[in-house]
């Protein structure tokens, strides 16, 4: 992701972070970065690039308009996310002011090189789609986006052609499509079979496992990276389970919170590349990121996780 609103002209954020990486090796990096344990990494199938298994969503949480107190709170959340080794930041023109707020935050942070910008095109028509994507880049304050996705399959034939051209021209690095809430899986599957995609994004969590039947195996088969949205089922997993005790076996996968339990379930699926939980709180961000460290569940343990949740 190259920046157009850098504090130092001519130096990209990625470049700054390379400098920061050198500084870290020299022992002068911010202490919190140096202390952050290594987050579980996943490989993007189409490129072999290694990316953090935990990203950040921005639906609702980053739509705070021009309110400076709320923007500064979100700045703290994003700072925590990046310092703890987070990777993908996902947004959309559909999320109100979220992209402006991301741009506000990125303009005040030194984003690690591991950060991937991900947004979407959510309109009809080629020209409107191009205008919207260019507007998104301006709102983020960047001149390239890492992952550009067709939001909820809106006019996907038109936009996938445009995105293929943009990828060839180097304006984006990866092409994807998204859905959520288990909707339109049939059409989604058809597109996964017929078009070349780098990423797909859909809902998957310990309660909503509809993607296990076809989408996840197909993504693995076709070499498509998987971004998981709604890993907490829009917060309902906490409503349902937070007052219950964690199972005894949670210690076997270094789980201390329900957030880590839910996220470890998602990112341990072999076909999943990263999950993008959203939060507006720094303490919750810390809990979320803990899911990416320590032991991860294997297939039998994942089965036990499902069984345990289904009994509650």
């Amino acid at each position: 992701m190259k920046c157009v609103t850098e504090p130092h002209a001519g130096i990209t954020r990625r470049g700054l972070m390379r400098l920061a990486g050198s500084a870290m090796l020299a022992g002068v990096a911010p202490r919190s970065w140096a202390r952050a344990p290594a987050l579980l990494q996943r490989t993007v199938p189409s490129s072999g690039e290694s990316i953090p298994s935990l990203g950040m969503g921005t639906w609702i949480t980053f739509n705070v308009g021009n309110s400076m107190p709320l923007r500064l709170q979100r700045l703290d959340v994003m700072r925590a996310f990046l310092e703890l080794g987070g990777g993908m930041i996902d947004s959309s023109p559909m999320y109100g002011s979220a992209q402006d707020v991301i741009g506000f935050c990125l303009g005040r942070l030194e984003a690690p090189s591991a950060m991937l910008s991900a947004t979407k095109v959510w309109t009809r028509g080629r020209d409107d789609g191009i205008a919207q994507m260019e507007r998104s880049m301006r709102r983020w304050g960047v001149d390239t986006i890492d992952v550009m996705q067709v939001h909820n399959l809106v006019d996907w034939r038109t936009h996938l052609d445009t995105l293929a051209d943009w990828k060839a021209a180097g304006r984006i690095r990866y092409v994807g499509i998204t859905t959520s809430h288990g909707m339109r899986h049939d059409a989604f599957e058809d597109i996964m079979r017929s078009r070349h995609l780098d990423f797909v994004q859909f809902t998957y969590n310990v309660l909503d496992r509809r993607a296990e039947a076809r989408l996840l195996p197909l993504a693995a088969d076709r070499g498509i990276g998987v971004i998981v949205n709604r890993p907490f089922q829009g917060g309902r997993l906490f409503d349902k389970l937070a007052h219950r005790p964690l199972p005894d076996f949670a210690g076997e996968i270094d789980c201390e919170t329900w957030a880590a339990f839910f996220l470890k379930f998602v990112i341990s699926h072999p076909a999943v590349t990263c999950a993008i939980p959203a939060t507006s709180r720094v303490d919750h961000m810390g809990e979320n990121m803990r899911a990416g460290v320590g032991r991860q569940p294997d297939a039998p343990l994942r089965r036990r996780m499902v069984d345990y949740v289904s009994t509650l």
Binding site: S67, P69, M94, G96
Partner: protein, 228 residues
């Protein structure tokens, strides 16, 4: 069809902002528009005092002021402030502007001869007018920050309550002229309910019931025997 059912079954998807964010938007709007907020409140106080003193106010004047407030609500609150966080706000702005046009139309046609007050429903209408005036301060006293509540005539619900009050108070009220306000009221009440702002949602419901009871009151009064 299933996609729509999923959507309706999941209210979270219908709202793209939180109560905290909505209050921040209101706070920014109140700060930026404090002069208009004050003028609107003073006009509401003036109308209430006039009605309490038994005056019959020319409807045209009241409807012109109401229309101006609807133009302001659509052009400034919805289009500039609320649109920051709500993709539907531009459509709400269109509704508010349409409401302003209809009220202006009434003011310069039938409203030139109509009067506010002295109707069978005067007490109810006056009560709603006072409620619209006091609603913001009451919410503030109940714990919402003072800068983050809607004040008389300048927020969607308070202007809706004031418009409902004036309709109740107007002889030969132009009911269909308030159709955009009704639609916006339903949207606002639903939003308030989903945000957990129960007082606003309940107030909308009570206003709807009051408005629905007005024709019944009038019919009942017309059947009463007159003194010989």
């Amino acid at each position: 069809m299933s996609a729509w059912l999923d959507l309706l079954a999941d209210p979270e998807r219908l709202l793209m902002f939180t109560a905290e964010v909505y209050r921040a938007v209101l706070a920014g709007y109140n700060r930026a528009a404090f002069v208009v907020v004050a003028v609107a409140a003073l006009s509401g106080v003036a109308l209430s005092i006039a009605l309490l003193r038994g005056c019959r106010v020319p409807a045209a004047v009241v409807y012109v002021v109401l229309a101006a407030l609807w133009f302001w609500l659509g052009g400034v609150f919805h289009a500039v402030h609320f649109a920051q966080v709500n993709l539907a706000a531009p459509w709400q702005a269109v509704g508010a502007l349409a409401q302003g046009v209809l009220l202006s139309w009434f003011a310069f046609t039938r409203g030139r001869r109509a009067k506010i007050g002295g109707t069978v429903c005067a007490t109810g209408g006056l009560a709603w007018l006072v409620a619209a005036l006091l609603f913001g301060p009451a919410m503030a006293l109940a714990g919402t920050p003072w800068d983050a509540v809607g004040y008389f005539g300048t927020a969607p619900h308070t202007l809706g309550f004031a418009t409902g009050a004036v309709l109740i108070l107007t002889q030969r009220a132009p009911w269909w002229h308030a159709l955009p306000a009704g639609v916006l009221g339903i949207v606002d009440a639903g939003t308030a309910a989903m945000l957990g702002e129960r007082a606003i949602a309940v107030a909308w419901l009570l206003l709807a019931l009051t408005l629905a009871s007005v024709p019944w009151c009038r019919r009942r009064r017309s059947r009463l025997p007159t003194a010989s």
